[in-house]
Every structure is written in C-alpha cells, then in structure tokens.
Symmetry: D2
Subunit: 348 residues, 4 copies
Amino acid sequence: MTSVAVLGASGFTGGELVRLLLGHPDVEVAFVGGERAAGSALREVHPHLGAAAGALVVEPNDAVTAPRRTTDVAMLALPSGASSALAPALLDAGVRVVDLAGDHRLSAEAYPEWYGFVHPEPAWLEKAVYGIPELHGGAIAGADLVANPGCFPTGVVLALVPLIRAGLVDPASAVVDGKTGWSGAGRLATEEASFARAEESLRPYGAPGHRHTPEMELAIERATGDACAVTFVPHLVPATRGVAASCYLSLAGDRVSTGDLTDALARAYAGSPFVRVLADGEPPDTKRTRGSNVVELSAFADPRTGRAVAIAALDNLMKGAAGQAVQNLNLMLGLDETAGLPVAGWYP
Amino acid sequence: MTSVAVLGASGFTGGELVRLLLGHPDVEVAFVGGERAAGSALREVHPHLGAAAGALVVEPNDAVTAPRRTTDVAMLALPSGASSALAPALLDAGVRVVDLAGDHRLSAEAYPEWYGFVHPEPAWLEKAVYGIPELHGGAIAGADLVANPGCFPTGVVLALVPLIRAGLVDPASAVVDGKTGWSGAGRLATEEASFARAEESLRPYGAPGHRHTPEMELAIERATGDACAVTFVPHLVPATRGVAASCYLSLAGDRVSTGDLTDALARAYAGSPFVRVLADGEPPDTKRTRGSNVVELSAFADPRTGRAVAIAALDNLMKGAAGQAVQNLNLMLGLDETAGLPVAGWYP
Amino acid sequence: MTSVAVLGASGFTGGELVRLLLGHPDVEVAFVGGERAAGSALREVHPHLGAAAGALVVEPNDAVTAPRRTTDVAMLALPSGASSALAPALLDAGVRVVDLAGDHRLSAEAYPEWYGFVHPEPAWLEKAVYGIPELHGGAIAGADLVANPGCFPTGVVLALVPLIRAGLVDPASAVVDGKTGWSGAGRLATEEASFARAEESLRPYGAPGHRHTPEMELAIERATGDACAVTFVPHLVPATRGVAASCYLSLAGDRVSTGDLTDALARAYAGSPFVRVLADGEPPDTKRTRGSNVVELSAFADPRTGRAVAIAALDNLMKGAAGQAVQNLNLMLGLDETAGLPVAGWYP
Amino acid sequence: MTSVAVLGASGFTGGELVRLLLGHPDVEVAFVGGERAAGSALREVHPHLGAAAGALVVEPNDAVTAPRRTTDVAMLALPSGASSALAPALLDAGVRVVDLAGDHRLSAEAYPEWYGFVHPEPAWLEKAVYGIPELHGGAIAGADLVANPGCFPTGVVLALVPLIRAGLVDPASAVVDGKTGWSGAGRLATEEASFARAEESLRPYGAPGHRHTPEMELAIERATGDACAVTFVPHLVPATRGVAASCYLSLAGDRVSTGDLTDALARAYAGSPFVRVLADGEPPDTKRTRGSNVVELSAFADPRTGRAVAIAALDNLMKGAAGQAVQNLNLMLGLDETAGLPVAGWYP
C-alpha cells in the first residue's frame, strides 16, 4: 500500500480526493490536512463520507512535513500560492507531489502577470510534469512533481491537441467559451454564490484575465510545438458540477470535414479509457460524465464559415481535478491507469 | 383601445403575450387562438393568469379570419410555417400583423435551406420589417407586417451593430456562443426536456444549422451594410428563462480599447429605455433581466489576442419574444415605446 | 400621492416592496433606507430595477425620522428587533407603519421565548393590527400600525381559519409541514446557502422552535376564538421563491367530506381577488403564484384516517411579504385592494 | 460469481442497478432486459455507463425465461403489474427474485384498491419477504422472493419502527409528509415533468391515495405488531434525487424526550452500516446521502404540543430502490451486506 497524504482535504476537491483514495485498492490515506478544519474529525468536515471516513482527523497542512512521518505521495488541493510554498520541503524529503493548484502549470515568468506572485521555486517548477495522462503518460510515470491541470484546460487541451497535430485547424485562431457549475469555485460563503442569486443566472466571469488562459496556451504549445493564442471567456451557469468548453478555430483548409476532425480525435484516444469521442459532432453532455473520470469530446466543421468547433464536457471535480489527480497517481505508481476510478457516471 | 388578437396563445410565448397585453393600458385582447387548447378557458390553459384571464376562451387559430370579427392587430406566436400560411389572409383584410415565428425574418431564398419549406408568400415577406425597435423604429411604426426577431438574434444584433458601424470589429470574424434556458424550446413533453434529464446538464444543440444563424447575418448586414459570417453554437443550461450570447470578433486595429467598444454601445443606445449598457466590460447577467424587457450589453477588448468580446443577456420570453413584440406593437400604434412593458426585472 | 418610506430597502423583501411601490399609481417612494447600503444609488443595490429606480439613493434607516421629512406611511422590512426600536418614533410623529418584521405579531409575553428579547413597546404592540386583509380588512383600514404576517402564517391561517370556523376540523390537532425556497432567508453570504450546497438538498430547519409557530397559533386563535396547538416543521428545498404549507388536522366528524372543506374555503374567499381556492383537493402549486399576490388553497378529507389536509402555496416575497404589505397599505389608504398588485403570476 | 439478470434495465432504477452490479465483486450481469429498448446496446440506452456497459445488449424482458439460460437471481425493475406476471415463471424455474416494483409488498386483498388489479399469484405473494435488511435480514437471507420496498416506506418504516417498538409514540397517529425529487417518477416524457414546468414548483401529488400509504402501514404493523394508520402526502420539489419524509406522531407520554427518541433509533441501528442516526434532532439532508446506500434518521420531541417528529432522508434510487435491492441480494447470497455498495455519498 502506498501511503498518501491529502492536503487541503476540507474543500470540494479535497473531499473528492479523499473519497476516491479511501476506495482505492492500492492506497492508504495516511494524512488529511486542513487549515481551519484542523482538529476536526474528517466525517464532520465531510458528513457525506460517513463511516467511510473512519477515524481520520484533519491535521494542520504543514504537519505533513513533520519528522518520522512516512508519506510516499502528497496530493495538494491547496489555494494558489500555498502549494508552491509547501511542496519544496516535501520534494526535498523525497515525497512525490501531485499539485492540484495552479502553482506548477506555467513558466516562472508568467506567475507575476497571471497569478500575482513571483514563483518561489523556479527550479522545482522546471521539473514539474504537466499531468494530462493521455498526452504525457510516460513523463508522468517518472515524475516527482506533477502539475495537475485545471478543469477547463483539461477539456480544451484534450480537444485541440489532436486537431492541431493533424494540421486540421489554425492554433492561432482559438476562441474558447467555457461554461461551469458552481463547485469549481470551491466552498464559498458569498452572496454571489448563494442559491437565490445563482439560480436562473447566466453570466460571464473573470474575463479576459482568467488564469486558465495561459495554461491552455502553454499546454497546447508544449504538446504540439505550435504557438497558440486563446481568447477564453468562462461563464457561470446554475449547475453544481460540470464544465463544458466550446472551442472555435479556423479550419486549415476548405476540405477539412467533420469526419476528419472526428477521426483525429478518435485515433488519438483509441486506447484511452477515460476519453469518449462522440461520432459526427454529436453533442457532449456534462450530465453523462458526472462522477466519472470521463471527458466527452466532439468536433464538427462548419464549412460555410470555414471554422471548426470542438467541444469538451467533463466533471470539474473528477477528470477536471481529483479524478485526474488519482489517474496521475496511478501512473506515478506504475498501477493500472483506472485503479480506483469510475468509468460509469452518475445518472440521473 | 386597440383590438388585438393573440394566436398560439397556449404556448409559453403566447402566455406572456397575453399577460402583457391584459395589463396594457391601450389594448384590448379581443381574441386568443390555439390549436389543441381551442375550446378551453384561458385560465385553464394558463392557470398562473388566474382572474386576470377573465372570461376569455381559446378559439381555433383560424377563426381569427372569420367575417365581422374586428381585429386591429394580430400577434402570431405560432410554429414556423403556420404564421406564413395564416398571415396573408389577415394582411389582405387590413389587419396588421406582428409575427413572432421565424416566417418573415429571412429572404425567400433562405427558407428551403434553413426552415425546410418554400416560402408561400414572398410578396408579403418583402414588405415585412424586421422588428428591433432600437434599430428600425421608424420603419416599424409604419409597417403592416413586423417580423419579431428571435431571442438570440435580438441580443447579438443589438450587441454587434454599433461595433460594426463604428468600424471597431471585423464582421466577417464573428463567433457567437449562446446559452439558453429551457423555456426557449416551448412547452415540451419529451424526456430530453425533463427535469431529471436537464438538471446538471450543459450541452450544445442544433449546431451548425441553427436557424438563428442566417437571421443574425442578414439582420447585421441590413443594419450595417457589411457582409457578416457567423459561426453560432447555442447551448442548453439548467435554467428556465434567459439567454446569454457571447460574441467574439477580431478587433479592427491594435488600438481599439474596451473604452471604445463601450462608448460605441453607450452612444447607440443612449435614449433606449430597454438597453442597459454596462461599463468597462462588467458582466451582463440574465438574472437581472428576467421579467423585464431589458437587454444588458457589455463589451471588452482582449488586446493580447486582438479580439473583441461583446456579450448580451436578456429574458428570451420578454425582450427575446413577447416583450419585444409589445414594444413593436407600441411603435405601430404610435404609443410610447414602454407602454405596458416593465423596465424592472424580477429578483431574486 | 401618498408619500411612502421603505426601510430595509436593500434586502430581497425591501427590493420587492420598492419595485411594487414604484409601479403603484397612488404612491410616491419618498425615502429608501438601508444600513450598509446607505449612500449607494438604489439602482446599484438592486440592478434589476434599472432605470425604474430613478435617482433614489439609499439613506440610513434612521434618517427617516429626521425633522421636516414628510412621510405618510413607513414600511419596515427590517431585521427582528430593529422595527420595534424604530417604529415608536415614527408612530408618535403621526407616520403610519406597516411592519414586515416579526416585532408586532405576537403578544408581549411571547417575545422573550420566541424572539429572544423583551419587547420595548408593549403599548404600541397592543394597538398593532395583524395584517391579513382577507380576515381583518376593516381593522387594517383604520390602523396606525399593521403587523404584516410571516410567509408561512399567511398561508396556514388563510387555509385553516375557515375550516375551524365551520367546525370541520379540530384546531388542537394541527400539524404543519412547510417547504420553502431560499429567498425566505434573505440575502445570505453563507456556505449553507450556496448553490453547490443547496441544490439537490431537502432538509428541515429551525424546528421545533420556529418563530412562525406562535404566530400561527395566535392568529388562528384571534380569528376563530379557538385555542390552537401547532407542530410546525419547515423544510428548505432547492427553489428561490415559493412556500407551500401542508396542514394536517383531525376531521371534526366522520361525515366531513372533501366537498365540505372546499366549500368552506370557497365561501370564505368568494370576494377575495388574491385567494384562489382549488376544486376537489386539486394540488396547489407555488409555480403558478410566483410574482403575483395570489395564494392557492386546497383541502381534502382522508376519511380512512379521519384527517383533513389543507394546503397553501404562495410567493413568500409577494403574498408572503411585500405584496401583502402593499395590500395592507391599500386598505389603510382607502384604495382598491388590488392597486399596484398583480393577480397574474410569472410563468414559466 | 452469481449470475444476475436485470429486467427493466432501461429505466432510472434499472440503470442504477446495472451500474452497481457491474461494479460488484461477486456478481456477473448475465442479462439486461427491456421493452422498447430491446435490441439496443446498453451503452446507448445508458450513455453515462460508457465502457463499463461492455458489450451488453438489451433483450426483451421475457427472454429471461428462455430455456437453457442460467440465471441465479433476477432483479425486476418493472412497472407495477409486470413483475407479478413474470415472476412466477422465474420462481418456478428456481430463479430467485428481487422485485423492485410494488407487486409483492401488500397483501392480496389490498391490490384491487391501491393498485387497481387483482393479484395474479397470491400464493407467491404470501411467500414474499419484505426487504428492509435492517429489520428482516434473517428472513431475507433465506427468501426466494424479496419485495424490495418503495422509497418513502423505506425511510418511514426505518424511522418509526424503533420508536413504536419502544413505546414512545402512538402508531395510530402518524402523519407523513414526503418530499421527493423527480427521478422517483422514472424517465418521463411529459410536460408536467419538464424542466421549465418543474423548476421553482413545490406541490403535493397523488394524495390521499398514494400506494406507499398501505405499504407503510402494513410494514410497520408486521414489524411492530401494532396497527398503524398513516395519512401520507408526498410533494414534488425541484430536485432530481432524494426523498425526505417527516413523520409526526403523538408522544406516548409527557416525559418522552428528544433523547429517548434518539436513543431508540441509535440502539436499533447500532450495527447497521447504512443507517446514520443523527444526534439531538439534527436535521437529516438528502444531499449527504446521494449516491450512497445510506439513510439519515433523526427525531425530536415537541413537548409543547405533545408530538414527536421523526425524519428520514435518503437517495430514492439507492437506499430507496437499486441500492437496497443489492443489499438484499447480498443477504440472499450470504455475502457481506455492503458488497458493491457505497457508504460515502456524492458531494457536492
């Protein structure tokens, strides 16, 4: 059994991480960390876990680095800024790290502009592997530090990389329109996030400076070698789970068809247990992915306007966060990619 | 008092039309028509109207053309195909018509491709005035036949025309991503539209052949003189009312700023009681427009990628259908544009 | 025009009050008061009001008592405790008061137990008239101080008083199960009220000590002369507006039928524009009452168990708060009961 | 591996049954039956199952009885009337049956009144064991035919039996107020069930003749020996999963306290992995039970009115249907009660 620590266990993503790991056949949850929740029983912090939470008690996050504690892997579901402050001590002590925050996804020079801080550990940042298993499985297996991607970038990068690699679309032309439920924003105690305010509300947020923008660009560039410029506008809709991203790009030529786009996606993910490529531009649906680690992808050509549309739908807390983190953990440990991860979603 | 007939009164749009007209100071609802609902009391078809429905009884739609019936204006909330079949007899009899269906919005040659039928009355079609009061108020005032716009085109045309007229964006580059609640699809009895299926579901639909696409293109072209090519993908989200459209276009030059875009919108609608232009790219929100005839508009520049984003939010049954139809009626009758129409929305 | 002040204008109820009063033909909104919102334009506090908010600026609540201000009626949508502290100065200055808080609904001795404070002005409390227009219209007309009822009590009292008066049910046997959307709790900034927490959550709250309990009991006792003991458990459901209350009582005899119960309700409210009595136990529905000042009532007998079930559904912010307050205002001013109040609801 | 057939696999409950059984360590899904879905791949009927559905194809329900088919247990998620028509042939052939429909829950004489048909096989009906594992585990283990309870009865029976057995409440005084999301009604294609109709709608349905009424009464009577008369009114609320039932009964004496009620529940379910008894009347919440086989129970006394309130919350498709059916299956097969069943719920 691998000994795993979950930091930031009291949030939505932390809760899903713990739930998945408690049901994982090859893993032992040895430590759950929190900030304000420190000292509370895990089952009080996450009553939905019930008896599955056993006798785990939330400890202060930084207690994970105490001497004589034996942790094989630490999974960090911390706020931005916190994981890059904490990770080096873990890594230096030989603990492998999966960082679910945004602290190891960009290049060092991008942090001041997009995250508002100077990255404290550029050396470790350079060693981080961006953790989309379907694209970087080999590197992830050997990594000490995996940067678990954001929810929108996961869908967008998976949707666009095969199309760009196949030369079917122009990477400089990408417009990405995102829709997300409220769980992506975490456990909020704000009027903005209240039910009475959020129900029946459709609205953009965070544009044009959303942090997922440079993450998408860099990830696509690294995977394809092509520079990419993304206009990204996310929108809040009255749902709890689920993100959908619709990507609009110029077709690389008059002859590119829906079939070409679909084929490129299908070929790229033929052996991937968690990517469901839909036929003929059939619409992806977040509803079918809820609770699973699956992303649905679809693409179609609009020859009338010379544009391609590629759409991704996924559960932001699963394939968009905790699920993908466990998938990365599986690769790091040499386990089957699907260990402890559901393919079937929750419905209805 | 002007004598008004509402056809297709049993649907969602028809219900809102009747509700608004029953509260309108200068109008008498003289006829409510339906198909399957014919013979029922209006208050049974729309129990939420209660005593406001008075003793009105739904009659067969085509009874509106019976001899000796005196109707000044007929408002047609009928399925596509039905209004173009019925309107000529009304128009020939001197009844003015507001058509809320899509039958008088395009040019005749577009109907086979986008609507699947050959338009039966191209002569009347040519006389139809496209009914966005903020852009075509003068022509509407004198029209016998007003084509009431679709919900998405209303928002998109209002958002883009001032930017294109001011030369700030490239009309050939338009990508429009739409989000809509379920009321836009009408009173449905399908599993797809069921609560258990629709809650927590984000998904595209109807692309790339959605009928609002050519309507947007033609309306923009008529208003600006510039050819326009729109890639339009609407999405269903778990809401009842509200449509939001995010429009992405290339900026016309490096120097175009958020301020320039906002100024163009603010100038265009300075005297318009139902257009709320937000400052500095502040996010529009369907929630604030519900129940009112207001559309919220906002725009910002993303100089990093050379793109403009313009966003519209409105209540699809109000400014996107019944409300705008009453606004058009007001212009046709020489009344104040706001007669019988709320500026304040419902909240929360 | 009557000069009206709205205190606590920044909350949900205050917002609805202002919206209704701005559209009221015989009233001028002369003052809007708030606490933290003081100094802000009303249209910023309630953006959904838009231009309807005019140039009104929120002032500190207690500025309403400043000398030389001319207010005919003050409507107090304040937290419990605040209205009883502020009302006396207004009343002593000749300003009539409608109190939407709970400060004038009970007898003085009940306040320590149910509200946790000693009532500061028992003298005024005794003069307060409980404001259910359908039951106490005459007294309301002449009142200086009207205690506007709570949302649940409004529905329960209207449902039960006719049945008790007609001797059809046993008032000592009342069980009331309430369901409410989240707007009843006000503008909250708590995790409990957040969308991600509240969606898909059905749960009781506040029992057995909910403040609406003694209000129901006292109101029924005053209206019928019969002592009444109510077990009341409200539940939160994932909706924004709407409360439904199902009341269970022992039938007074074996022979009491659904028809008897329905007849008693129908007779009691035959002339009431805002009470819709449904036939034959047909189910009330909050959806049909949203945005209107209507309450739907229905009752049926379950002879198998010897019980009666009476159910009320209404919009908690309208008939359950702001709407009924305006109805009370109309009576106080000798206006038509329906002035400024919609009978037709919002749908869908 | 036990060979299990799922009939009625295309519905919501059938889909959950299949999902649970596909992940069950000791079971093989050997047959999936449907009516209209026959001939389709299971993954098309339930796209959320994805690759987990393997190559299973839906066959006609009655093909399960074909010769040479080897089925150990058949689980029937069929409409009422269908399972009692099909079960005898299975049982006579030695196949054990778990019936999720209502066809084996009542006594024969109750079917004409509550279900509208004469029961076709009273002999088998008499042998059926009512399947609440926490109350009837022993009998279930040896049963050939288990009647899997309805969702509301599951919660109500679990909540009330310990209180009645302990003599704390009067079983003749039970009022049960139920709230349910829409999935309980199955895959509906009706306007009533549509999102635009159901959102923001709180309403009772099916009272006073709901079929769960006699089921509760009989189950309580069988478990306690006390006759029980239940007034039961269920309500639809805008949720997909989850039922909550609030039960109101007269306290058996002046001295019965919240502690007594809670203790009785806690003692009764001390060893039950799927029953979570909350302390001190703390409110149960369907949200925490979603996706798990857990029921939350809570009770409190209202000494002021001499009543007890006991509340149950559960996931209607899990502990209220498919989950409990698998729990029953586990008992029938001598497996651990929790095999293949989650204790941790989905959140948020």
